[in-house]
């Protein structure tokens, strides 16, 4: 039946168009916008690190605040792999992300894993109200940051 054929074709076209639109919507951010998203994520992470550092200086820290910051860090350690879509390197605009992020994916993944392995320990120590544990976990985490930055982030410009 021709009518049926055309109506099927029509709905197929509509479905394809909808799918393309959906894909396009998810992909709508430009590389520069994606860099900004990444930058904002790391800004939030830096803010959380500063909070932990400040809080651990107190004799009896605010553990609720510590847990909140440790959760931000823990979440970031799991999610950060998604902050580096293809095409958002130095070729797209100003960023300190080095091309090695994309050219050495296995090493980059290993560096991320070091972070995501260590971040839960900070959260656990914060939940256990274990201040020396928090301080030790924080120091370990700093090592994970440095480990990745040494290879995958360009030095600050002076």
């Amino acid at each position: 039946m021709p009518g049926s054929f055309y109506s099927r074709l029509g709905s197929t076209v509509v479905a394809a168009a909808l799918l393309a639109a959906a894909v396009h919507a998810a992909d709508a951010l430009t590389p520069v916008q994606l860099q900004k998203v990444r930058h904002d994520h790391y800004h939030e992470l830096g803010d959380a690190f500063k909070s932990v550092r400040d809080l651990t200086k107190a004799d009896s820290p605010d553990f609720a605040a510590l847990i909140a910051s440790a959760e931000v860090i823990d979440k970031a350690s799991v999610n950060q792999g998604q902050w580096f879509p293809q095409g958002t390197g130095p070729e797209a605009g100003k960023t300190r992300a080095l091309p090695e992020v994309w050219s050495k994916p296995d090493e980059f993944l290993a560096a991320q894993k070091m972070f995501s392995d260590r971040a839960p320990k900070l959260l656990e120590a914060a939940k256990a109200k274990d201040l020396p544990g928090v301080q030790a976990a924080f120091k370990e985490l700093g090592g994970a940051c440095k480990n990745c930055h040494d290879t995958f982030r360009s030095p600050e410009e002076h």
């Binding site: 690190f49 500063k50 909070s51 940051c145 002076h158």
Partner: protein, 222 residues
């Protein structure tokens, strides 16, 4: 350029030991602070900053209570005297000349500002920070870090200008300013009208204790 003592010239001690020690320790510490910052040795960078805070605190105290050549009231002059100095008129008082005095206070003030910015600074990762950064937000600390970086360039230019000025005095005017800052003595054609009055060891002790106290309080506040 040592000037040979002739019957027409007298050697006078101008700079006391605290001023000379202050000067050269500051030179060394600014150098080490620069190097430790560039190479990411932030622990040592902080120690340099603390030591410089102590030094600058002492220098400010010495500018009010120290030997006559160290006192701000003695060497800070108004624009008229500075202009007269540039035109060639000498003051007859040993110590900083009216023009060099400007360089002294500007360098000292900027170094103090640089130290204060460093105390509040936070690095981009929120991991390294000055002790007083706990009193500001992450963004506030980042702003202090940016000022800390920008001001250092200004400081470097002024230090360069200072060195060029010293080179001019040493090479063109044949006045041994570097030797004077090392051994404290300078030659004058005749005895200066105003003798240098040196501060007592007790005053020095008070200054050292005060400077250490200021530094300790700042570190402890963090």
């Amino acid at each position: 350029m040592p000037e040979s003592p002739t019957p027409d010239s007298v050697r006078v001690r101008v700079w006391d030991l605290p001023i000379r020690l202050f000067h050269w320790l500051m030179v060394a510490l600014v150098g080490v602070a620069w190097w430790t910052a560039e190479t990411g040795r932030l622990d040592w960078h902080r120690y340099c900053g603390y030591a410089l805070l102590g030094l600058v605190s002492f220098r400010i105290y010495w500018g009010f209570a120290g030997s006559s050549t160290a006192r701000f009231a003695q060497f800070l002059k108004g624009p008229r005297v500075i202009l007269q100095y540039i035109k060639g008129q000498r003051t007859g008082t040993p110590g900083h000349n009216p023009l060099g005095a400007l360089s002294v206070v500007v360098l000292l003030a900027l170094l103090l500002a640089q130290i204060v910015f460093g105390l509040f600074a936070v690095d981009v990762d929120g991991i390294e920070s000055g002790p007083l950064s706990i009193y500001v937000s992450f963004d506030g600390g980042r702003f202090a870090a940016e000022l800390h970086e920008e001001l250092f360039d200004v400081l470097l230019w002024l230090i360069g200008l200072h060195v060029v000025a010293i080179a001019y005095y040493v090479l063109i005017r044949k006045e041994d300013l570097i030797g004077a800052m090392l051994h404290g003595k300078r030659s004058f054609p005749r005895l200066p009208q105003q003798p240098v009055r040196f501060a007592s060891a007790a005053r020095l002790l008070v200054g050292v204790v005060l400077a250490a106290l200021v530094t300790w309080l700042v570190i402890r506040a963090g």
